[in-house]
């Protein structure tokens, strides 16, 4: 039975990929999914008795609150990005440099990969209370936590990508008499870029999760703090607006990273 199911989905996928028209129709369904969710949301809010309307605000109330809260949300965004940007940049640079170095050397692999296997799977949330206790300011501890969370996926992917450099590129580098560092810089790093971007996508997701969680713990500003603050005061329209806004910012950041990837890796791979 599962085999039959699999076959059916496979043939379905094959057909949709062949015809551009059905792809267009599928993306229309995708858009209408948003509209459907919005419609259900509006209907439920409208059907609820008036006394619950504040607990479950209508889309209209939520969006108008979002508009009203924009100045405060922009300040929160700036505050969050003051943590996110340095932490993520640090994670990408450290993860890439260290990952390519480790992936390119058998000796370093033998030392660091077992260590990474043990340490990387620890959920970074468990470090939060200690980091806040240990480091002088909330900002520094949040940067540390976010950096740690985004570092591992970048590091692991960068080293895997360096290990997976096609034989042909290695042979060419050897035939051209490249030194080890020339090889890493001019061949292994660009060849590993698709892997590195893969790690950067995962890392950015982790960074957003850790950022908002860290802000729930001890921040006085930021997007996660915004949501927590208005939840504490039972201002649910504002809280929902904060959730939607955070979702939008996350989506835009991910899209931006995707565009950057397309621009940087311009060759077929």
């Amino acid at each position: 039975m599962p085999a039959v199911l699999e076959q059916e989905t496979n043939s379905g996928r094959g057909r949709s990929a062949k015809r551009p028209m059905s792809r267009f129709i599928l993306s229309l369904y995708g858009v209408s999914l948003f509209i459907a969710v919005l419609a259900v949301w509006a209907t439920v809010a409208w059907l609820l008795p008036t006394k619950h309307r504040y607990l479950f605000p209508s889309p209209w109330l939520t969006f108008s609150t979002l508009y009203e809260s924009m100045p405060e949300l922009l300040v929160s965004t700036a505050s969050s990005f003051l943590i996110l940007a340095p932490a993520y940049a640090g994670a990408v640079i450290l993860g890439t440099v260290w990952g390519v170095l480790v992936g390119g050397s058998e000796r370093l692999r033998l030392i660091f990969i077992p260590f990474a296997r043990v340490v990387a799977p620890v959920p970074p949330t468990v470090y939060i209370p200690y980091a806040i206790a240990l480091l002088p300011t909330f900002r520094s501890s949040a940067i540390f936590i976010v950096l740690l969370a985004a570092f591992w996926p970048v590091f692991i992917n960068a080293s895997a990508g360096t290990l997976a450099v096609p034989e042909q590129h290695r042979d060419n580098a050897r035939a051209l008499g490249f030194t080890h560092f020339e090889y890493l810089r001019r061949v292994a790093f660009p060849a590993a870029l698709p892997f590195i971007f893969n790690g950067m996508h995962v890392g950015l997701g982790m960074a957003f999760i850790m950022l908002t969680v860290a802000e729930l713990f001890g921040s006085t500003s930021g997007l996660g703090r915004f949501v927590q603050y208005y939840a504490d005061y039972a201002d649910f329209p504002r809280m929902l607006a904060g959730i939607l806004y955070t979702g939008l910012i996350t989506f835009l950041s991910m899209t931006g990273l995707g565009l950057l990837e397309k621009k940087i890796i311009f060759w077929p791979h």
Binding site: P166, Q168, H169, D171, N172, R174, A175, L176, G177, R186, V187, P190, F266, W267, P268, H269
Partner: protein
């Protein structure tokens, strides 16, 4: 022999070294196996004098690519040795540059920068502007000066191979190794590039040794001064044939020669005998296994 007559080859480090022995590449009793069950190369011996264009002709399974990789220093022999000017080959060197069948260029560098990588190695002192200029000169030799700013994926397969040849020439190595460089091209493009290679060789005074791997009898006879014929499974030398057609050669004139056709059918016969022997043996093995 007066010192002035010794060929001035290149500027790369190893090439400048005099070496301790005669100016030749010597392959001695070479054995190689990727795994224990199957021998890839069995007792290969031949000598290539400096400046000669030799073709290694063999069907698939003859280990011709492996042999070239061994000469390049990309693999190490199981036993036997390879001597260049009397010194054993122990690893890759700028003195032996190689063109692969495909993907010789790095896709993230422009054509000019790909060639510049070789020039930076061949002339370590050169400024950026000089390197660029020399890169464009070499690209000009293969008719790609106008495409210097393009990336490999913007070029056709033939253009990419021309670019790879330009990069190899830019290294200025006394030995050029070519692993079926035109094997992935359509026939018209292949003829064009064979012509280009003959032209470059005829026009230059560098006199590099070329070791050219191919499975195409016509190609071997068109390009080579000598053809080393390899048999299959395991790879071994069946015969060596001198090709004395006058140079400059071109495909059209050569294919019309009676002596060319004779030589070609002689080599083809060798080739076929070996292939038939393979088929006989393999069908024998399968029938035993299947118990028919």
């Amino acid at each position: 022999m007066p010192a002035t007559l010794t060929p001035a080859t290149s500027r790369s480090p190893e090439a400048g070294a005099p070496g301790t022995g005669p100016g030749e590449l010597r392959v001695e009793n070479l054995f190689f196996a990727y795994d224990e069950q199957r021998i890839t190369l069995e007792d290969i011996s031949f000598v290539v004098p400096e400046g000669e264009f030799v073709c290694l002709l063999g069907a698939s399974g003859s280990g011709k690519t492996t042999l070239l990789r061994l000469i390049a220093g990309l693999e190490s022999p199981g036993s036997g040795r390879i001597l260049w000017r009397g010194d054993p080959v122990t690893g890759p060197s700028l003195g032996r540059s190689i063109v692969f069948q495909e993907y010789s260029l790095f896709p993230w560098y422009r054509l000019r920068d790909n060639v510049a990588l070789a020039i930076e190695k061949a002339r370590p002192g050169a400024t950026k502007a000089e390197t660029r200029e020399v890169a464009d000169e070499y690209l000009g030799m293969v008719g790609l000066r106008d495409a210097a700013h393009k990336y490999p994926h913007e070029l056709s397969g033939g253009m990419r191979q021309r670019g790879a040849i330009a990069r190899t020439l830019a290294l200025g190595s006394p030995i050029l190794l070519m692993d079926e460089p035109f094997g992935a091209l359509d026939p018209a493009n292949r003829l064009r590039l064979q012509d280009l290679l003959l032209g470059i060789r005829h026009g230059s005074s560098s006199g590099s040794m070329v070791i050219f791997v191919t499975h195409d009898v016509d190609e071997a006879l068109l390009l080579g001064d000598r053809v080393v014929i390899l048999g299959s499974t395991p790879g071994r030398v069946i015969d060596e044939i001198r090709v004395d057609f006058p140079r400059p050669r071109n495909a059209e004139a050569l294919f019309a020669l009676g002596t060319f056709r004779e030589l070609r059918s002689e080599i083809s016969a060798y080739y076929h005998r070996d292939a038939l022997r393979q088929i006989d043996r393999s069908s024998l093995i399968t029938s035993q296994q299947e118990g028919i």
